[in-house]
Symmetry: C2
Subunit: 188 residues, 2 copies
Amino acid sequence: MSRWEPDARGRLERAALELYSERGFEQTTVAEIAARAGLTERTFFRHFADKREVLFGGAGQLQDLLVSTLASTPDSVAPIDAVAAAFEAASVLLEERRAYSGMRQATIAANLDLLERELVKLATLSAALAGTLRERGVAEPAASLTAEAGVSIFKIAFGRWVSETNQRTLGQLIRESLDELKAVTAGR
Amino acid sequence: MSRWEPDARGRLERAALELYSERGFEQTTVAEIAARAGLTERTFFRHFADKREVLFGGAGQLQDLLVSTLASTPDSVAPIDAVAAAFEAASVLLEERRAYSGMRQATIAANLDLLERELVKLATLSAALAGTLRERGVAEPAASLTAEAGVSIFKIAFGRWVSETNQRTLGQLIRESLDELKAVTAGR
């Protein structure tokens, strides 16, 4: 247990998500997560503040990546396409974590506290993207509407990605959702 | 205090919102709300389960109205226009409550617990609208994207309505937001 282990964080994440899926988030203790990962509680707390942090630790990183990608997109790209492209670029980080993402999604959907936190994170992300669009010269309410549309596209593509049995990538599903939103708002 | 009073519920709402705005939601007690309204705590609890209920009591009614309006819109109307029209119809209920709505918005924005609850209500509303669209024959992911777009349009129009000094109605701002979203997704 005390020997050096590569990727302790990854093992803790995997163990936590398995346990949240098997017995529920509330019913899982940090001691059980550490034991399943073959590590100590002390090691857990070196990586995560608490067991919620396992689910939300990556949100800040995702937001930073989206904002910086959006900020560096050429001005010639239409705002809605720039936002969708930023999500598509960020989706590369997630592609290898489909099983993890599915367990995370199911855990959050089953717990109101977690769902509330997830929705606040998405609202915060939407506000950050709207701010970045305003810095690119997009006026309100277009900036906020575009950011909200981008988050909706991502949310719906993400839900399909973790639940569908076909093998499309998250990036493909984001592009499809963008095209679908364009069709929908064109009244088709 | 004990004599019959017309519109006790309205007076309690007004008193509560004033106090939430003046001193914050957490710092306000039911006793203070009742006293400001010139009513008893017992009367308060005949109308509201607790002080959060003052803010969220109307959400179910709003959702029912939106769903029934959407369900009865002719199939010839494009889904995005039908959803926006349902919000526009529901906005009539709110037009006379602009000052109340502004205080409610500020109270919720200042308190994370309230913001979480508001976001869950909006997500629940979006899911209900998507379900209604599916019943009208709209396939997924178009149904969910349309419902999400409708909620975004409403949220952004509502935010402008309570904060702007001009005299446009909430209904006008909903139509403007719809047009703006159509322009945005068309890449303009």
